[in-house]
Symmetry: D2
Subunit: 304 residues, 4 copies
């Protein structure tokens, strides 16, 4: 199921270079707004152990919300299904940073991928520890997943997220007002902002996603039944209020980040990382989505 | 992938007979509220052409919203992708009969499976014809899918839906006020109420769902790329505001109906119909969902 | 308290003739959209029995939502305080024709002046009768209030309201779905559309409003405690989601209509009718509001 | 217009002592939850300079949101009408601490009396100064209004508000994320929590409200046109989502606080302070409202 893959990636990288409308780079912090919108990279780690890539595949980018997939896996490992008392499993029908449902649903976020939900997940991992200890656990998991020690937090991005993080502070304090925050908002958000500032290149990210293929490829971090549930959550909620459209067009579970990266999984077959910093109106990578659509069609990959 | 299937179905039917909490039968019309909550049936049509079943598999039930899957396939066949100018492809985060988003989003329903969206789909099929002509086309498609002429509308149910259909009239007039209804509300809803009153048993429904397996099993009604998109829409939106949880628990694209039926698809493998009239708080069959969860686990079926 | 009144009215009429930005005439039915935006009229009926006017004070206009004040008075006379089980007394924070709160608050409209609430009021008056009988009662009350038999329904406007009334049909059916409509939607709305099409000129309207002055001027239709409550409702809810701003600028209880009319009351002093067909973004007469602001300042009229 | 006033107050105090259902004392901080629900006090300062009172009129209570009336007057004095670019003048249709509209309306609070709006007002007064300087200005204004130096902040209440103020922190950070907070959230809220903790007894509060009578009684702090506007805002927004009902029942502009106090104004006649700590479901004093209803009826006081 992976023959022709390298050719497909090269073709896609070439096609993407020609695209005129590349979306809008995130502009809420200078560290993101200054990134060249012409950058593009894609990498695929397959179930049989190979790694293919094209484009700027050595360039680091900010994972941002893609880290929510990893922290969710960690939190489920720590807390099991009781985690779902704090956060739901339904698409929200609202923007990633919306606070409306939090008020309407008494402080229980809709799912672990909207910001409010992800803050709860990080809060669950923090669990009374110092933020650096929780961050060490998160990095440990991600390095193990990617089998690379060379994965780090960009301190400048983290500091800038903190400085511009008023909406997330609003969400965290709202959670606290509903009794759904166990740690001081400052500590949970300090952890969260640093987590979002973790950087990888697409090769690392594709490798880090192997544990979601479900075939035991790479390090064994999560058992198959939970892998399937993580993929289900990515498919229904991973692209915020664009998840339905992404499933319709691409047909694969995936998690996006405002840094322009997307991690997509072909269950049983491959882990895909794509990156291009320009975003669509839902905050998902515009060319990243287009590239995944082309790749899925070229390789006949779809969960449907 | 289907060995042990018959045994699994027998076991599930036996397990379901022992369930105490069977949910609440829909009570908005007498034709549904009077149905025995102890009934249960399941059937599976496989890609290799076999049909397995257990329980009350000859008993007819009202398809209700399951028909939305078939009318969506018909409307896409008639109108192609321009259909999406009238209706979206995103989970709503709201109840199946909610009108809130219709006002907030200027009369474009979130997806084809919430009531407002399904009314738009039926309106697209009606297309200026007499309701009986549109209904004839819908029945023709469903009979072809099931390869059975013995599929009919329950006139008593249709009449009762009409008499108790104020919420749907409200939705239809709202659509009209936004210019998103092409036919008089009375005619579109007349068609819609009759469509919802189509009856099948689980054997017929499992057979009727074969066109969504994607392997060409049974009559060829829809090409593979569109089959995948229909399955994607079922997975993200098919269970209304319980779609995320259904994907998490069962891991298969599926469409439920308030009559207690669910049609679920294992892409490349099988079409499953299950029926038990008791509903959960989202209006989806309680035992039907449980049975699908057990079957998916027993057969190792999941798109993830 | 009324010396200098005639001069003030003349001055205001002259000022209004010079206004450039006159708002936008309602365009949802041709009978309203064709009205000359340069028309302006104002009339004041005082507690001591005099009537003053300026501008196009003989020209008839469509009362539209101003009739909601009269039907509320009639319904309270018929049903007393049990009316408040069907409708609330709070500003809505939403547009006059919004349906969102109706869903969120289980079909009980926020107040009698948003469309949903006014439909409930008309439904209460209809009370199983033929629409013509309810309309006869409404006309009888308004003619008595104005002491003029020459007040009629514009049939062409009523027919057009009916033809373009999808939003109101949506509201009425939603009310019905919540059990808050006693008559068939068609009959209640038929009555409502005809009620809205009642025409007066500003002289008639100022006279018709005398029963709200609270001094017993003109025919005695409503006792003082209820007059005060009607005025309270006008002040908090009479201009929809512009009521706060109107109270801030003008300081008088008032009810507007999409035909461009406004009825304002100076408790103990006067009843004011103003008309200019151009509307602001909340659907209230732009020059009518400005004229009332000038008149209130000139005469030192304010409830505050 | 004030003959019989003292007798009316005595009668009301006696009636209130007999009331069984006294509402629920605010329980979000221990300093409020421990207050005896049997306490009741009322005082009236008249335009002619007299002061009447009954009940526990020497007992201090926490003004809480009643201070929003005074800070609004101060902010309008400092900034004039440009204040309205930061906050609206419409009833919200939502709870006092709701954040939903803040998201829907891009961070511009509906009015100065909902919490978000009051935080904006305090932020406007703070204006880059140290919180103690802004608090000094607020206390100076209130002491001048009451002609009493013996008005202070309860430090224990302020500290407790701060410790339990997550919802207000959420609102403030949301405002900041929309660019509608000029000072650091911590400083604005520090000021706000201390402002809310100002204490008075009903005699002081009735005297402090004289500047809103509009006759020049007491110290001249605000000119008449602005007094009228402040009263208009109190009438339409002063009781949050119970403002319509309060206007209907009592018919006077008034501002309530969660400490159980209400300041009500009879324009041209009197300033009324009432206090009883038990609250209704909207967070307004239950017996305070009832007492005002009785007083307004007994004295024939109403703006309508």
């Amino acid at each position: 199921m992976t023959s022709g893959l390298q050719e497909a990636l090269q073709q896609i990288a070439a096609d993407m270079a020609d695209q005129g409308d590349r979306g809008a780079v995130a502009d809420y912090i200078p560290q993101l707004s200054g990134i060249d919108p012409n950058l593009f990279a894609i990498a695929v780690a397959t179930a049989d152990g190979s790694l293919h890539y094209a484009g700027d595949s050595h360039t680091l980018f900010s994972l941002q919300s893609i880290t929510k997939m990893f922290t969710l896996a960690i939190a489920l490992g720590r807390s099991g299904d009781q985690l779902w008392t704090r956060v739901g499993r339904e698409p929200s029908g609202n923007a990633f940073n919306s606070i409306v449902q939090l008020e309407q649903e008494n402080g229980r976020p809709r799912n672990p991928f909207v910001n409010a939900g992800a803050i709860v997940i990080t809060d669950e991992i923090l669990a009374g520890r110092a933020p650096k200890d929780a961050l060490a656990e998160i990095l440990r998991f991600m390095r193990a997943a990617a089998e690379s020690e060379n994965i780090h937090i960009n301190g400048s991005v983290a500091a800038s997220e903190q400085a511009h993080g008023h909406r997330n502070f609003s969400l965290a304090h709202f959670l606290a007002s509903c009794g759904n925050l166990k740690n001081p908002a400052e500590l949970t958000l300090g952890t969260y902002f640093h987590q979002c500032a973790i950087e990888m290149n697409v090769q690392q990210l594709a490798l880090a996603g192997r544990f979601l293929i479900g075939t035991g490829t790479g390090p064994r971090l999560v058992a198959l039944p939970r892998v399937r549930r993580l993929n289900a959550l990515m498919l229904t909620c991973g692209h915020y209020d664009g998840s339905g459209d992404f499933a319709f067009r691409v047909g694969l579970p995936a998690k996006s980040g405002v840094g322009g990266g997307i991690l997509a999984i072909v269950p049983g077959v491959a882990s895909i990382a794509v990156w291009s910093p320009g975003l669509d109106h839902n905050g998902n990578s515009k060319l990243g989505t287009l590239a995944l659509e082309q790749l899925a069609r070229a390789m006949d990959w779809s969960v449907f």
